[in-house]
Structure formats: structure tokens, C-alpha cells
């Protein structure tokens, strides 16, 4: 190799490496579910998305402590909760141990008739008071009465403890040594709600690290183990495992591809040059998206990189034709037509997508269009320039498939494709899956732990909830109260098991005023109490504090959300159910537990007929969003495909255009049919992989059908296509063994698709000169 050539290649490689580094350092990569969302969502969908990303469920971590005797685990649980509750990383950390300190208990005691569920209107009648006093006397004899004896003169009806009970009792876990335990007493359970929202990756990572560190410090050598589950843990686990596997698979397949290329091309220099167009594509694609959209979505980047994988075939075509007696520029001229058409069709196919109202799709379109154009430019200008004067060691060609064999394969292939088309169109197979949760590559044991802990805690179903929006906290609280009346009825009818609404903690000011009105005045209460006390061994003025409390409550200022902010057990609970949104509006959530009849509860909530009251089924809602994404994507792609067909018809002779289109159609149809036979429904990830297959299939068909070349060139085309196909299959087949269904799906689709694309290009599109 001449020094000048070596210098040129080194220069281009260094510039591209530097630019790649600079680009990926300076672009802003966003990582949330917004990729799949349309630009404008319905209010209900928007609420659902907000809940999935930032709602209380997205912040809930379940912690399991195991591996030590129960008393030790209980102590550890208490120490861990105490330690974590001091951290600002958590809104609340609970293990069932009494959560109210003395100050907070006093607050609840003072405000007990304004807080919580509505009191029984009969509570202050003589008969009811008599029952309360008799019960209190009996309780005093018990041992725990020792602890509550102080409270009795102020609260003989026991409302304070009943309130605490009601607030704690949204679910009924098993207790051991005063903290939550699994029913087999082997696992101490803690629930932590992080301050960071679910989509705050850094905040979630820090919070989970803090739990781990606090545990390590406390557990010492006790032998106790900690495990965590919950949505924040899941999303971290998913991104970590995908990253780890993608890295391993990437390293493995890169090595295999390099080895294969080295064996076939016998030149390390060529290996570097082959990477030029793909590198240029990713740099230009990423910069274009960053400039147009302000950031690059992580999924757009991954999908985009997959799509531009086709561009690494471009230099292979050129290199395979290099000869001692033929400069790189002359080779370029000889393959210019199919190369340009291959690039142009790919650009045209993605062009419509850039206009999509889905920002994710538009990003993908821009990435593909600009990236492929850049790769084309790099193949056109950079590669021949760098290889000018490079003399390959002689790459032998391969004979094309004999025409007879091609015919033998062609007709069965066409027949299979026709049958597949009929089968797929008849609805015989489930074609699409919009349930991305099925793609969760969660380790089985993590999922099992989550199911087990949720079962133990009888934690509310976080999938279905009601959301109320309004201009003020009071407006949403009042509507939540009306909703609660309907839900109370639904609980009675067995439609749902339970519900948790903000008004269970803090009633609206209107409701508080009504309660104040309903409280008896001091004299009436004194008379009722005196009658109720008759014959019972209580001292005369025992219940004076009770009367003073009621009189004070009647005239006090109603409570607002701010008053509750600092009170544990209710303040933090209220904070997660009642929030002031960034647009200034208020949002009240009502969680629905043990939903027995989803359709009926949806009707009940819908039946209220208030546009501000929404029923959210987070899973259904997210599936609907994905489905709308998929439909939109397919629509734009159909447009793209039409444009490609038009372009082919314009640029190619009719027969050749038909063959190219036929070859592409066969390979895509058979790929989808095989995936369906394997029981794989197409997610957006599979569709992205199919796009790559389409790009590659077009490329193969165009080069195979390129008929202006001589016999030598035919052999070179054959060889270059085999090299392209082998490297692509090698690169993607490693993914089939991934535990992450996303990677597995892409790997399977591309491996099958590229194999079929090569086969159908070889038998459907042989160059006219040869047939």
C-alpha cells in the first residue's frame, strides 16, 4: 500500500473517530416513554402517561430482608426505616411500625373530627356514648389498655385510634415483632416511596444505592440479605441488563464480523474503510435530530443505528470490485447506478416519516434520511478517495446460481409468499403486539419476588385508578368526595375491593365545615355524657377534656393540604394522591384495589359524566398509545414504500422494477410469516428490524439485477452480496441468544429477513444478461 493511501485512510479514520466522540458527547439523549407518544395526547392519555412516568406507583420500592432470625430482621427493618426516613431521597419509608410520633399523634388527636372518613352522626347520642364508655372500660382492663389509658379522657369514643387504624389499614399485611413480615415469617418487608419521580434515572439510581449502603452499614455480619423490587427497580434492571447484554453481544458480534471480513478480504485496512459510511451516517443522523428536535431519544438512536446498518454494505460493493487494473473511482462509476438507486430508495422510503406528528417517528425518519444520505456521500467521495491507489490482494468472485436451480427455487418461493400473504391477510395469526410490558426482560426471580411481596402486603392495584383534575385543591377534593360515594357503592357491590382517595385523609373545606356544624355544642354534649356515664365507675370530671376538644373543633379554622404536609402517615400519603401540577392545575388520584370487574368500574366512573373525572387503566392506555404509534408508523411506511415503487418504476426498466419489487415483497412476507409461525407478534422493535431488512433486501435486489456488468463483475456482485449477508447475519444472530426479548426480536427478524432477502434476490433478480 502506498504511503499516501495509508495516510489518507488514517486521516479519515481519525477525523471520523473524533467527530463520533464529539457528537455523542454533545447530543442530549432523552430516555423516557415519550418516544412512542403522539405529539398531542387526549387528556386521559396524558394523565396516564404522567402517572406511569411520575405517579406514586412509579416511585414505589418494595424491600425484602431475609436470611436472619425474625427478631434480628425486625430490628434491622426498624433501624433501616429510621435511617432512610432521615434522607431527603425518600418521601416515606414504612414497615408497619407505628408511624406517628408524639407531635403528629397530637395533631391527629386535636383535628380528629375534621380529618379522615366522615364520623358516624350518631356518635354523640347518649346510647352511643354509653356503648363507647363501656367498651373503653373493658379495654382498660387489657394490657394494651395500659398504653391507651392516657388518651381515654380526651377521646372516649376512640376516634383517634380508629383513624390511625383506617389510614394504616388500606392494606392488611402480616405483622411479626411489630413490623411487616411475610406470612412464613422469613421475610421482613419495607415499602419506600422515593422523592425522585420514576423517570428520574439519576435520582432513582441514587435512592436505590442509598438503600443498599444503609443496609450494608446496619446489617454488618448478621448474614441478612436485602432484595428490592418495584417499578423503579424494574426500569433500572431493564436498562442495566439490556446495556450489559448489548455490550457483550456487540463485542462478540463485532469480533466475529471483523474476523469474517478479514478472512474474506484479507486486509485490515479494508476493515477500517468499510466502517466509514456507517460512522458518517451515525454522526450526521444524530446531529440532524439534535438540531431539529433539541434532543435525541434513546430509542430513536438505537432504532436509527439499526436502520443505518444497511449502509455498511455500500463500501463492500465497491471493495469487492477493486482490481489491480481498476482504480477505485472507476469501480465507483461501474456500480454507480445500483448504488445510487439503493441509497435513494432507502432515503425516499423514510422521507414521509419525517413529517409524522409523533416526535419519535419524526426523529427516526430524520435520523434515517440524513444518515443514509451521509453514508451515500461517504461511499461516493470518501471511500474511493481513501482507497485511491490501494491494490487489493485479489478477491476472487463466486459463480452465480445456475439459471435452472434459480428457477427450481423461484416458483416454490413465490408460492410460499403467496400462501403467507393469504394466511396473514385472513387474520390467521396475531400480527401485532402493543403490550410493551411483554418485552420486559425482567429476571424471573425479581418478578416472582415482586408478586410475592405485593401479595403479602395486599398492596393496591396500581394499574387502575381514577384521576380528578381541577383549578384548585378544594375543587379536586370536593369532586373526589363525590367520587368516593360512588366507589363506596362499588365496594358494597363487590366491583372493587377497596379504594384509597385523598379525601380519606383530608376532606374538602366544605365537608369540614359541614362536620363542624354537625358537632354538638358543649352543654348538649355534657348532658349526654352525664347520662351515658351513669352507673359506670368514672370520676365526675373525667371527660372534661373531651368536651373542651369538641367545643374547640366547632370553631377552628378548617385544615388545608399545607397543614398536613409535615405529618407522617397522612401528609406523605396525601402528597402522593393530591398534587399541584406544573401547569398550575391540581390532580387528585383515587387508587382502586382488587378490581373484580374492570368494565363495570369504568362505567361507574364514566357514568358520573364529569369531564374532569377520568378512569385510567394504565396498561390499556399505554397499549393504546403504542398501537396508535404502530398504526401511524405503518401508514407512513406504506407511503414510503409507494414512493419507492414509483422511484423504481421511473428509474428501471419495467421488468427489472417488477423483479426488484417482487423480491422485496417475497422476503418481507416470508419473514413476517415465519415470525408469526414462531409465535412472535410484531412490536415496534420488530417493525424497526423489518425496515432494516427492507433496506437490505432492496440493496441486494438492485445489485443482483444490475445487468450492465460483465461476467467478472457478476461474480464480484455475487461475492460482495454473500459477504454483506454473512456479516449482517453474523452481527444479528448473536442477539437471538439474548435474554432480553427486545434484542432477541431484532436479532431473529434480521437474521431470518436477510437470509430470505439474499435468497430471493438471487433467484428472482438475476441480471438480464445471465438469464
Amino acid at each position: 500500500m502506498k504511503l499516501r493511501t495509508a495516510l489518507r485512510i488514517a486521516l479519515v479514520a481519525a477525523v471520523l473517530a473524533g467527530l463520533t466522540f464529539l457528537t455523542f458527547r454533545s447530543i442530549h439523549i432523552s430516555r423516557d416513554l415519550s418516544f412512542f407518544q403522539p405529539g398531542a395526547l387526549s387528556e386521559t392519555s396524558e394523565l396516564a402517561v404522567e402517572q406511569v412516568r411520575r405517579g406514586p406507583a412509579s416511585r414505589l420500592i418494595l424491600i425484602a430482608l431475609e436470611g436472619a432470625p425474625p427478631p434480628e430482621l425486625a430490628e434491622l427493618s426498624k433501624a433501616l426505616v429510621e435511617s432512610l426516613n432521615k434522607s431527603s431521597a425518600f418521601l416515606r419509608v414504612a414497615n408497619g411500625a407505628a408511624e406517628l410520633d408524639e407531635g403528629s399523634l397530637d395533631f391527629v388527636l386535636r383535628n380528629r373530627y375534621l380529618l379522615g372518613p366522615a364520623p358516624d352522626p350518631q356518635e354523640f347520642s347518649t346510647a352511643s356514648l354509653r356503648r363507647s364508655l363501656e367498651k373503653a372500660l373493658a379495654d382498660l382492663g387489657t394490657f394494651s389498655g395500659l398504653a391507651t389509658a392516657d388518651l381515654l379522657p380526651r377521646d372516649p369514643t376512640g376516634r383517634t385510634l380508629a383513624l390511625v387504624e383506617a389510614w394504616q389499614g388500606a392494606f392488611h399485611p402480616h405483622f411479626r415483632h411489630g413490623v411487616w413480615f411475610s406470612r412464613d415469617d422469613a421475610t421482613a418487608i419495607i415499602v419506600a416511596e422515593t422523592s425522585a419521580t420514576g423517570d428520574d434515572e439519576a435520582g432513582q439510581t441514587a435512592a436505590q444505592a442509598e438503600i443498599g449502603a444503609a443496609f450494608q452499614q446496619l446489617a454488618g455480619r448478621s448474614g441478612a440479605r436485602i432484595s428490592m423490587t418495584g417499578p423503579p427497580v424494574f426500569s433500572r434492571s431493564i436498562s442495566q441488563s439490556i446495556q450489559r447484554e448489548a455490550y457483550l453481544i456487540g463485542a462478540g458480534s463485532s469480533l466475529a464480523v471483523l474476523l469474517l471480513l478479514y478472512i474474506t478480504l484479507r486486509s485490515p485496512t479494508l476493515l477500517i474503510v468499510i466502517a466509514f459510511p456507517a460512522a458518517a451516517a451515525s454522526i450526521v443522523g444524530a446531529i440532524a435530530v439534535q438540531l431539529l428536535f433539541g434532543s435525541v431519544h434513546g430509542i430513536a438512536l438505537t432504532f436509527g443505528m439499526t436502520l443505518i446498518g444497511v449502509t455498511s454494505d455500500y463500501p463492500v460493493h465497491l471493495i469487492a470490485h477493486l482490481r489491480q487494473d481498476r482504480s477505485s473511482w472507476s469501480v465507483l462509476r461501474s456500480i454507480a447506478a445500483p448504488l445510487l438507486l439503493s441509497g435513494a430508495t432507502a432515503v425516499v422510503a423514510f422521507m414521509p416519516m419525517t413529517l409524522s406528528s409523533f416526535p419519535g417517528l419524526a426523529q427516526l425518519g430524520v435520523f434515517a434520511v440524513t444518515g443514509i444520505a451521509a453514508a451515500m456521500a461517504a461511499t461516493w467521495f470518501l471511500v474511493p478517495w481513501a482507497l485511491d491507489g490501494f491494490v487489493p490482494r485479489g478477491i476472487g468472485g463466486l459463480p452465480p446460481i445456475p439459471a435452472r436451480t434459480a428457477r427450481w427455487i423461484r416458483w416454490p418461493l413465490v408460492a410460499f409468499a403467496a400462501i403467507s400473504a393469504a394466511w396473514l391477510l385472513s387474520g390467521g395469526a396475531t400480527l401485532f403486539s402493543d403490550d410493551l410490558s411483554r418485552l420486559n426482560p425482567l429476571p424471573r426471580d425479581l418478578l416472582d419476588l415482586d408478586i410475592r411481596l405485593r401479595g403479602e402486603l395486599s398492596a393496591p392495584d396500581v394499574r387502575r385508578l381514577a384521576a380528578v383534575t381541577g383549578d384548585s385543591a378544594q375543587a379536586v377534593l370536593e369532586k373526589s368526595e363525590r367520587l368516593s360515594q360512588q366507589l363506596e357503592q362499588a365496594v358494597g357491590d363487590g366491583i372493587i375491593g377497596s379504594y384509597d382517595s385523598p379525601s380519606r385523609y383530608l376532606p374538602s373545606i366544605a365537608a369540614q365545615r359541614a362536620r363542624q356544624q354537625a358537632l354538638p355544642d358543649g352543654v348538649t354534649l355534657l348532658m349526654s355524657l352525664d347520662n351515658a356515664r351513669e352507673g359506670l365507675p368514672f370520676e365526675l370530671h373525667t371527660f372534661d377534656p373531651f368536651i373542651r376538644d369538641i367545643v374547640a373543633t366547632k370553631t377552628q379554622q378548617p385544615l388545608t393540604p399545607e397543614d398536613l404536609a409535615r405529618i407522617p402517615l397522612i401528609g406523605d400519603r396525601l402528597q402522593s394522591l393530591l398534587s399541584h401540577r406544573t401547569d398550575g392545575s391540581w390532580l387528585a388520584l383515587t387508587l382502586l384495589g382488587a378490581v373484580q370487574d374492570p368494565a363495570k368500574i369504568a362505567d361507574t366512573i364514566g357514568g358520573i359524566g364529569d369531564p374532569a373525572v377520568h378512569y385510567l387503566d394504565l396498561q390499556a392506555e399505554s397499549m393504546q398509545i403504542i398501537a396508535s404509534y404502530r398504526k401511524e408508523a405503518l401508514r407512513w411506511l406504506a407511503g414510503g414504500l409507494l414512493a419507492v415503487i414509483l422511484l423504481l418504476m421511473l428509474c428501471l426498466k419495467f421488468r427489472r422494477a417488477i423483479r426488484v419489487i417482487l423480491s422485496l415483497g417475497i422476503s418481507l412476507l416470508l419473514t413476517v410469516a415465519i415470525l408469526a409461525l414462531l409465535g412472535t407478534a410484531l412490536t415496534p422493535f420488530h417493525i424497526a428490524a423489518l425496515l432494516l431488512v427492507a433496506g437490505i433486501g432492496l440493496d441486494y435486489a438492485l445489485f443482483m439485477s444490475h445487468d450492465s456488468a460483465g461476467d467478472h463483475d457478476q461474480r464480484q456482485v455475487m461475492k460482495s452480496l454473500l459477504i454483506c449477508a454473512a456479516t449482517t447475519i453474523l452481527a444479528f444472530c448473536f442477539m437471538i441468544f439474548s435474554t432480553a426479548p427486545i434484542l432477541q426480536g431484532i436479532g431473529l427478524t434480521v437474521s431470518i429477513g436477510v437470509t430470505l432477502s439474499l435468497l430471493s434476490a438471487m433467484v428472482v433478480c438475476p441480471a438480464a444478461g445471465r438469464t
Partner: protein, 188 residues
């Protein structure tokens, strides 16, 4: 104040001439007992109730730090104290969960005083309480005053009375003047 005087008197007694039953001897004798079972009868005096409230049940102890208090009357309730952790079971109002931090302090002070004495672990007792001991002819009284300020806000002290290694009476004295007197009959 009255307690301080009483304590001063008791301390004087305790540091007086060597008696026939030292605290350490009694505690050592207790430490040798691996398991015990006793019936108890309780009289509770609540300052706003004109009559004493009566209760009865069983106490079960297993060395070194497991104590069950099984209340039979007036309402069944079980308290299990182990390794410094108290849990409440049974069908009373507080069953399955803790009532409040305050209740914790009061009950766990009582239980740690009991278990500390039953197990004969003097160091553990001295960790949580100030100890005042008197005896005459091996009829002794041990008064435990909690060291922690929060516990002292609820509990003035726990008096244990007995003969030799036997515990015969436990008196829980609360800061609000309420008292609970448990008479104990240990099974042989």
C-alpha cells in the same frame, strides 16, 4: 421529688452491711432457670376510674430473652417479647400492630425490666435502668428506674418483689399516678 428521696433511702440500704441475699446471687440463680411458667393476677389503678380493674393470665419465659404474657381475662391478648422486640397478638383492639410510639415505650420498658430480671442479666438491666436493691432475710425488692428520658416521661419505675430466686410481685408505676400490681405464682 418523692421518688428521689425514696431512691436515696433505698440506695442507703443497698450499700449497707452485706445481707444474706445479694442482687448478683439472686440474678445468678435466675440465670440458671431455662424455662418458667407462672400465673398472674393483676390489679390496675387508673386515676380517673373509681374502682381497681382486675385481670389475670399467664407468664411464660424461655431463656435468655423470650417472654410471653398471655392475658386471659378480661379479654384475651398475647404479648410476645423477644430480643428487644415486642409484638402484640390476639383479638384485642391493638392486635397485629402497634398502637403508637408511646405505647411502645411504656410496654417495652415494662417488658425489658421483666426479661432483664428473669434472665438474670445484670449488665443488660444496668444498661437500661438505674437499679436500687434492698433485702431482708432474702425477701428482696428491686426497683428499676428507666434511664431514657422519654421512658421516664411515662414510667416512674418498676418494683419487683420476691424471695430468693422467686419473683412474687411486680408493680408498674406510671408517671400519671396510675399503677399496675401483678401478683405472681410461679409453678414449681
Amino acid at each position: 421529688m418523692k421518688h428521689a428521696v425514696a431512691m436515696a433511702v433505698l440506695t442507703t440500704f443497698a450499700s449497707g452491711p452485706a445481707s444474706s441475699c445479694e442482687l448478683s446471687e439472686i440474678l445468678n440463680a435466675r440465670a440458671a432457670i431455662a424455662e418458667s411458667d407462672a400465673a398472674y393476677a393483676e390489679q390496675r389503678h387508673v386515676h380517673y376510674v373509681t374502682e381497681p380493674i382486675l385481670a389475670a393470665g399467664r407468664l411464660r419465659y424461655r431463656s435468655p430473652d423470650h417472654l410471653e404474657m398471655i392475658v386471659e381475662q378480661p379479654k384475651p391478648e398475647t404479648f410476645i417479647y423477644q430480643d428487644g422486640v415486642l409484638s402484640i397478638e390476639g383479638d384485642a383492639a391493638a392486635s397485629g400492630r402497634d398502637i403508637s410510639v408511646e405505647s411502645h415505650i411504656l410496654l417495652s420498658t415494662l417488658f425489658s425490666a421483666l426479661v432483664g430480671t428473669l434472665s438474670g442479666d445484670e449488665a443488660k438491666l444496668r444498661g437500661k435502668f438505674d437499679l436500687f436493691f434492698t433485702d431482708s432475710d432474702c425477701a428482696w425488692q428491686l426497683t428499676l428506674v428507666p434511664k431514657a428520658e422519654r421512658a421516664r416521661g411515662k414510667v416512674d419505675g418498676v418494683d419487683l418483689k420476691g424471695t430468693k430466686e422467686r419473683i412474687e410481685q411486680i408493680v408498674l408505676k406510671l408517671s400519671n399516678g396510675d399503677r399496675s400490681v401483678l401478683s405472681i405464682r410461679e409453678n414449681e
